[in-house]
Amino acid sequence: MENKVWNTAELYAYLDGELSPAQEEALRAELETNQSLQEQLAQQRQTVELLQTLPLRETPRNYLLTPEMVRVAKPRPKSRRRRFTLWSLRLATTLSALVFVVALGLQFTPLTAIPQPLAQAPMMMEQENAVEAEKMVEVEKVVEVAVSAESRELPAAEVVAEEAPPVMDSAPLPTVTAATKNGVGGEEEFETPLTLGAEEANPVELGLCSTEEGDAECGGASETVEENLAAVPPAASATEPTSSLPRGEEAPHQVTDATWWLVGALGLMTLMFAAVTWLVARRR
């Protein structure tokens, strides 16, 4: 029978008592005759014995458990109030998010989808009122300048001018023209037609030259008025149609800015609600 070759792992297993009884018996028989195997086993035993002498560390303390240490923390019952708060916050967050999304969607909807007159009517009215007021102020200034020029020499005319009807509340867009009907002496009068078109005249009698004073004076006065009227900005001129004002371009920008602010505020509110909800849920 040929001798078995024992490897190191088997020799260690023999030292640890982990070989099967049959293997152990066979190794013992081999060791009786095999000198080199005996030496190898002795060296391995020395290593194992050395490792077995490894002094253990002292425990720094006793680890005895107390009832407090092993008590399982019971989960706190959730109060109704807290639950209500959390659900309210969740609802508020959801609603806020919905409103935000709807508002954002409306922002991106093209303006052509909304009927133009409906969309622009209020803005146009505001714009018209503003322009009208501006023009009236200009006309008043021009008239005042003309009147003051004349009034130094014609005190009577001042009275007549004061009696003249107010120029306001006539037409939405005043068209101002000041001209002498009769430029060559005689009876002269100023016309300030405040109309949408040139054909609709609304003459205002100032009666500045209704006296027997010279042609030169009246002519000079009318020239002054004409000069002053010429200084009125083109937007207020009678020839320019109302619809040509650049309202259509400016109005949507104003609306967009305002609504963007609103959408931003909604978004911010949604985020705030979400953050508070998360914090409350986390605390539980």
Partner: protein, 206 residues
């Protein structure tokens, strides 16, 4: 409470009593095993303070998990909990590194001298500590799994199947790890054999 001696120690009865919720019974088991448990934790963690934390955590976990123990080797079951607790601690230490007690000096040597079972002379104590330091340093050079296997078999005297249960590996893996660990230890110890006690000095390589 004194540590129970082997003669008065009936593990099976104590385990059953502890499973019924009797804390004193579990504390008796704890006193019997706290020394090997702490040492295993130390060899895994390589730090006395971390081993201390892991040991305490392991015993608390073991108490809560006792209902799941279905018989077999209680020691292997307990040491597996220690191993897992150590790995948890290692993960925690990795996330939140802390200063080791060893950084403040050799405090652990005098940490709790009254717990020592027997009184040593100063010379014996010195030799013992020197040998322990040498072997611990050599062991620390091994990979963690080999170091643990070697410690469980050679120092705590666990059987191969118990080591397999503790480390959750097959028997063949235990054998191969042990064989490699012992071979490396022999090699490392040959480098410093003049520091070993005379009877352990190697005469040649294997």
């Amino acid at each position: 409470m004194a540590a129970p001696t082997m003669t008065s120690f009936n593990e099976e009865k104590l385990v059953q009593a502890a499973q019924r919720g009797q804390l004193p019974a579990f504390n008796e088991l704890l006193l019997y095993y706290q020394h090997p448990v702490y040492n295993l934790a130390y060899h895994i963690m390589q730090d006395p303070a971390a081993a201390d934390d892991a040991t305490q955590e392991a015993f608390i976990s073991a108490y809560h998990a006792l209902a799941k123990f279905r018989g077999g080797s209680f020691r292997a079951w307990l040491l597996r909990i220690v191993r897992n607790a150590c790995y948890d601690e290692l993960r925690r230490y990795k996330r939140h590194p802390a200063i080791s007690w060893e950084d403040f000096g050799e405090l652990d040597k005098e940490a709790n001298p009254h717990l020592r079972a027997q009184v040593e002379s100063p010379e014996e104590s010195l030799q013992r500590n020197e040998l322990r330091e040498l072997l611990e340093c050599t062991l620390a050079r091994l990979p963690a799994e080999q170091r643990m296997t070697l410690f469980l078999v050679d120092r705590l005297g666990l059987a191969y199947d118990e080591v397999g249960l503790t480390m959750e590996v097959p028997l063949g893996t235990v054998k191969s790890r042990l064989y490699r660990a012992r071979g490396k230890m022999r090699e490392y110890l040959m480098e410093t054999q003049e520091l070993l006690p005379l009877r352990y000095r190697q005469k040649g390589s294997q």
